[in-house]
């Protein structure tokens, strides 16, 4: 294939598809109890310098309890695939991010991310490579398919393409230019789901974003779940399983695990808490105070829920 254009961006994680196959071959396939605390899961499965990805859309279904634990343990030099709002803001605020494959980091309704601005404009995030949203999802899809790249018609002709690590080639079938995005293999994926069993089978209600793709593109996968249910739930309705257990390394029970984000059909997002963060994130000092109060200063997720207050959380529940 004739390469017409090569993006200037660095390939932060190479598409080692054969290595991924070997990894998947040795991954245990037995039905073992994978329930862990968030402290155990994060400590055992995430290392300094890992390439990680979170799955969510906007503030919906954010793996916040797991993210807060990463911040608490100070796991650093992280490389991250970034479509994020609240959880990536926390990692940026805590100075744990070294490199970003970014598509969107912002606060939606509340504007640009102050933490992203500070960390990128100061150069503390050492590498930033831009992609479109679908391009990142398709990079996961390529890995999920077990192929090193996927041809797409996004990004063509733009600076998004120019500064990415994609390539434009002449299509061997049509002769037209087409963009190839490389498979993105995650060291660790983090997904928050509605329900899972102790083995890691999981269901998501409502739209599923890119959960199916990210789960299948992760070497190690940590699930947090609103509730842990019996395996019979999956055996009786297997068409509802979006993540089968063998992809999963740890299952962490985390009611309100997306707080202050939302969980469709279960609870609304916490607008007051989000506004508190938006205000705090404006200055480095108040940002650190927020982290101190809500992350460093609490022991774990249940401690965090106590701090937010059971009555307040009840008020967020959908009827």
């Amino acid at each position: 294939m004739e390469v017409i254009q090569t993006g200037l961006g660095e390939l932060i994680q190479p598409p080692d598809i054969n290595g991924f196959r070997e990894w998947n071959r040795q991954k245990p396939k037995g039905l073992v109890d994978k329930r862990k605390t968030e402290a155990e899961a994060v400590h055992r499965l995430i290392n300094d310098g890992d390439y990680i990805g979170t799955e969510l859309y906007g503030t919906v279904r954010c793996p916040m309890s797991l993210t807060n634990e990463i911040v608490r343990q100070g796991i650093k030099d992280l490389r991250i695939a970034g479509q994020g709002v609240f959880e990536l803001d926390m990692l940026l605020a805590a100075g744990l991010v070294k490199a970003l494959d970014i598509t969107y980091i912002g606060l939606e309704l509340y504007g640009v991310s102050n933490c992203l601005r500070r960390e990128v404009e100061s150069g503390r995030v050492e590498k930033v490579v831009d992609w479109s949203n679908a391009a990142i999802a398709w990079r996961f899809k390529a890995t999920a398919m077990g192929v090193p790249f996927i041809p797409v018609r996004s990004m063509l002709g733009t600076d998004t393409m120019k500064y990415s690590a994609a390539k434009v080639v002449k299509c061997p079938f049509t002769g037209d230019p087409i963009c190839l995005v490389p498979a993105l293999v995650l060291d660790v994926g983090l997904i928050h789901v509605h329900r899972a069993d102790k083995f890691g089978n999981a269901q998501i209600d409502g739209i599923s974003g890119f959960a199916a793709e990210l789960a299948r593109a992760s070497k190690r996968l940590i699930l947090s779940t609103e509730e842990i249910v019996d395996t019979e739930v999956f055996r009786s309705q297997p068409d509802r399983t979006i993540i089968p257990y063998y992809l999963v390394d740890a299952v962490v029970e985390a009611p309100f695990g997306s707080h202050p984000g939302e969980m469709c059909y279960l609870y609304r997002r916490d607008e007051d808490q989000i506004r508190e963060w938006v205000a705090a994130s404006k200055e480095p000092e108040t940002t650190q105070e927020y982290l101190e109060q809500y992350i460093y200063g609490v022991q774990d997720h249940s401690d965090y829920l106590e701090l937010i207050g059971p009555d307040h959380l009840q008020g967020l529940r959908r009827d």
Binding site: Y57, L109, A137, M155, G157, D159, A211, C264
Partner: protein
């Protein structure tokens, strides 16, 4: 948020004008890719006015939602409330990629005469003066939808001859450039809606052309607020003000909590 160009004496604000103008561009029984913010309000208003069967399409999986409650983000429950399908981002963008989505509604920090949009950086890419959120779905919408409609605030810092970064493709550098780059033939920018004006694109040169002014603004004011040479339609129309009915629905039904307006 758009008070600097608010028209004195009017009974509506610039955001409301913008939403009503965008809503009027939405057509019943068509598919429309809806981004965060103003497009959501416009789609909701359009469904309650003239386009009850507007098929809203949201990036993270909602197709055909009835917008009764205002979404505050692209993945919220409202984006698939009473929808016909709830899937995921690959399905949605692939639907656009295979030609199923007519209109795409977009925002951006900057736009140029060819309708290219910047939402990535202000200044040098490697040493940005301002690091903006990035493409998100913008580039995908601008690449695959048949016709894209940009919704912007109108000032000289936003309407610029040269972007610092082309995040989302418009007509790139002119006629034929999209096709040369490999983007799907027949796609591209269609309209730009601002608090001051409605614009389209010249059929040959593909440069932005002023089609209509918003109530209270003159052609000269629009040109003055535009940082590049804006072409003029043979007859520049005057957009009608929001009707009482539009304002009532917008305030009482679409954005009851005044999150945006």
């Amino acid at each position: 948020m758009m008070s600097q160009t608010e028209m004195p004496g009017s009974n509506y604000n610039p955001a409301e004008m913008l939403i009503c103008t965008a809503a009027r561009l939405m057509t019943d029984n068509t598919t429309a890719f809806i981004g965060t913010g103003i497009p959501m309000l416009a789609a909701s208003l359009a469904q309650k006015m003239h386009a009850p069967n507007l098929v809203t399409v949201f990036e993270f999986g909602g197709t055909g939602a009835i917008l009764e409650e205002l979404p505050t983000c692209v993945g919220g429950e409202a984006t698939f409330h009473r929808a016909v399908a709830a899937s995921g981002i690959c399905d949605i963008v692939e639907t656009a990629q295979r030609g199923f989505i007519e209109y795409g509604f977009l925002g951006g920090a900057q736009i140029d005469p060819y309708g290219n949009l910047n939402s990535t950086v202000i200044g040098d890419y490697y040493h940005p003066k301002v690091r903006l959120p990035g493409s998100g779905g913008g580039n995908d919408v601008g690449s695959h939808c048949w016709q894209t409609i940009a919704i912007m605030r109108h000032d000289r810092k936003r309407f610029v001859e040269q972007l610092d970064f082309i995040t989302t493709p418009g007509f790139l550098d002119g006629p034929g450039a999209r096709e040369t780059a490999g983007l799907p033939p027949g796609t591209g920018p269609y309209r730009v809606v601002t608090n001051l004006a409605l614009m389209g694109y010249h059929p040959e040169s593909k440069r932005m052309i002023l089609l209509a002014t918003q109530p209270g603004f003159t052609v000269e004011q629009v040109l003055d607020f535009t940082g590049f040479e804006l072409l003029l339609a043979d007859q520049v129309e005057k957009n009608p003000s929001p009707t009482d009915e539009e304002l009532r629905i917008l305030r009482m039904e679409v954005d009851r909590d005044r999150l945006y307006i």
